[in-house]
Structure formats: C-alpha cells, structure tokens
C-alpha cells in the first residue's frame, strides 16, 4: 500500500474573537494544502476567520491516566468561578 497523506488537526477561530478551537482533522500532503483543505472542509458554513493546522503526530497530549493529578486540584477551587459569589438581585447585572 502506498503512503498516506499525513493527518492534521484543525483549529479555527470564529467570528467573535474567541480562541482557536479544535474542530476536527483531515488529511493533506503538506501544511499549505492542509490549511486550504481546512478552509474547504471546516468553514463551509461561515464558521471561521482564522485557521491553524498541526500535524497530528506533533501534538503532545496529557496522559489520560494522569487525569486525576492533572485536573482534580483545580476542581475544589470553586472560588475561581463567578457563580461562587452570591450577589443579591437588587444589585443588578454583574
């Protein structure tokens, strides 16, 4: 079997200045083509204004088995979330 086009992960920033978000993957022979393919595959419904692609093999990921130590310590820091603070309705929108 002949060699396959490498796999790329696609990140797109939408209209409203939000961060780039992972939207999916695709195949392409190189990064230039990957960006074009991402434009054609993942922005057909006007979803984006900026595209990043990363070859999938270059993504370093946290190991799922370390999920506990990696993410649990932040779980009890509820004071980082606005809903932690009860503000009376009379104060108005905050």
């Amino acid at each position: 079997m002949s060699r396959e086009w490498p796999l790329w992960e696609v990140f797109i920033r939408g209209q409203h200045g939000m961060s780039h978000r992972h939207v999916g993957s695709l195949h392409a022979p190189d990064s230039e083509r990957a960006i074009k393919n991402a434009r054609d595959v993942y922005t057909r419904r006007n979803e984006g204004v900026s595209i990043w692609v990363v070859e999938a093999k270059h993504i370093a990921a946290s190991s799922p088995s370390e999920k506990g130590p990696m993410f649990e310590p932040s779980r009890d820091k509820v004071y980082r979330h606005p809903t932690f603070y009860d503000i009376p309705d009379e104060v108005g929108k905050m």
Binding site: L7, P29, R44, S63
Partner: protein, 330 residues
Amino acid sequence: MYAQMIKSEATQEDTEKLAAFQARIDAGQKIEPKDWMPEGYRKTLIRQIGQHAHSEIVGQLPEGNWITRAPSLERKANLLAKVQDEAGHGLYLYCAAETLGVSRDELTEMLLDGRMKYSSIFNYPTLTWADMGAVGWLVDGAAIMNQVPLQRTSYGPYARAMVRICKEESFHQRQGYHLLMHMMKGTKEQRRMCQDAMNRMWYPALMMFGPSDKDSVHSEQSMRWKIKMNTNDELRQKFVDETVPQAKYLGLEIPDENLRWNDERGHYDFSEPDWSEFFDVIKGNGPCNVDRIAARQKAWDDGAWVREAMLAHADKKAARRAAGELKNVA
C-alpha cells in the same frame, strides 16, 4: 442503520479494568483515544464507525447520479451542497475511526474488497428526480433519527463527529421534503414520480434500522457500551410515527395496507419489510451493489496518481526548503 449489522466483539479481559471502564461509561464519561478500552469495544467501534463512514461516501453516489440533471440552478446548488456534506460526514467519521488505530486507506480497502459493509439503502437506484426528494426526506430522515442519539455515544471522537454531522444534516431532510412538496403541486407526471419514489423507497428506508432486535444478539453489549443508543425496533417505530403524517401532508400514499393507528399502543402498526430482500442486499445482491463498489473502486484507482504526486511534490518541496536553508547557513 448506517451500521445495520454490527456485531459486538466478545472480550476476555481483566475483570477489574472492565468494571472500571463500564463504570465510567455508566457515569456518562467519554472514552478518549488514549484511554484504556476493551479490545472488543475498540473493534466494534472501528467496524461501526467505518461502516458509517462508508455509508456516507457510498451514499454520495445515488444522489450524485442526479447532480448533472438537476432541473434548476437552485436545485442543482442544493443537491451539490447536500452531496458535498455527505463527503464531509465520511471524512469526519474516517478521522474518528483513525483515532482507534486504523487508517483511512485501510478502511477504504476493506470497503472495496468487501470486508466491510455500508448501509443497504445505497444499493437501491435513483430513477427519477423525485428520488432526490424521497432520499432526502426518508433516507436522511431515518439517518437523522439514528444519529441524534449517537451524539451522546460513549466514544468522544465519535460523539463529536456526530454533533457536527447532526448540525449539517438538518437541511438535508428539509430540502428533500421541500422538493417533494413542490412537485406534488405540479403536473400529473410530477406527482406520479413522487408516488413511484415513495413506493420504491418505503421498505428500503424501513430496513435502514436493521433487523428486529429479537434477532440481534449483539446489540445488548453495544447498548451497555453506549455505542448503540436505541433498539432497531424503537427507532423504526419512531420513524414510522413521524413519517405517516408527513406523507399525508404531501398527499402521498404509503405502500402498506396494514398501516393504521393503534390507539392502544399509541403508535402506528405497519408491515415489516421483506427481510429476505434485506439479507440479499447485504450479501451483495441488491440492485446496485456491484455498480456502487465499481464506482468507488474507479474513483480510488483513478485518484491514486494524484494522491501520490501531491505527496511526492510535498516531499520535494520540503527537501528544497531544507537545502535552501542549509545554503543560507553556509
């Protein structure tokens, strides 16, 4: 459905790990690519997602059959966009399957040499323009019924692909129905085309949900794994219940003498499709099996030199770039 005949694989694994795995699924957690998973779960998923992906791309063919004959510029654009979406769905699903350690090329070869299947529905021909309406309305309608719950499936990449797919599917069924509505207000010939399409598509659409669960030993494991969210019979009933009033509105007759509302059950009673026909189609003897695979094979073969050349060029470009950089350093 698009994964009509998926058997779940038997497993023999560490019971403790299995219990923990099942507990995560029961708790509604998503399983991600690098998580431990039972071999049976992985294999069943590859088969199911692969079959689903194949269905999307083989499914481009019956509708693609009418793109060059679409009767107005607007309809031509609608149909093109719809068939293009199906290519996108295939792409998302192949990518989801790839996270399980199988490549798109491997999956494609398994489709072409018959090791993997695709939905029986796409082995039926599209004979008139009304079929574009009937396919959108009935086939995509049945597909959506199956796909909406799959957005909650336990495997993360699959669930995320389904979310994207469902968002895109929403126009497919409507454009099909819209097309039929328009034709039913048209000439006698147009109405005849619509009824003819209904007559041919009804039972194949019912078959899309797969044989009765009574006969399916494997769906239980898949349901426990949340790979399969509803039973085949549940979904089929839901489809019939939703479709009957829609057909009535169009003025189309459903080709089933036994179709009637059952007050007691709160559902429509309906005739089962001819399951021997279904198994014939699955075995390769449907009206279009040979043509469909031949078309996919041709696209695959004809595209080989293009895929190869684009990669070769990318390699050369990278090499030239590297050489250029070296020269600059020296």
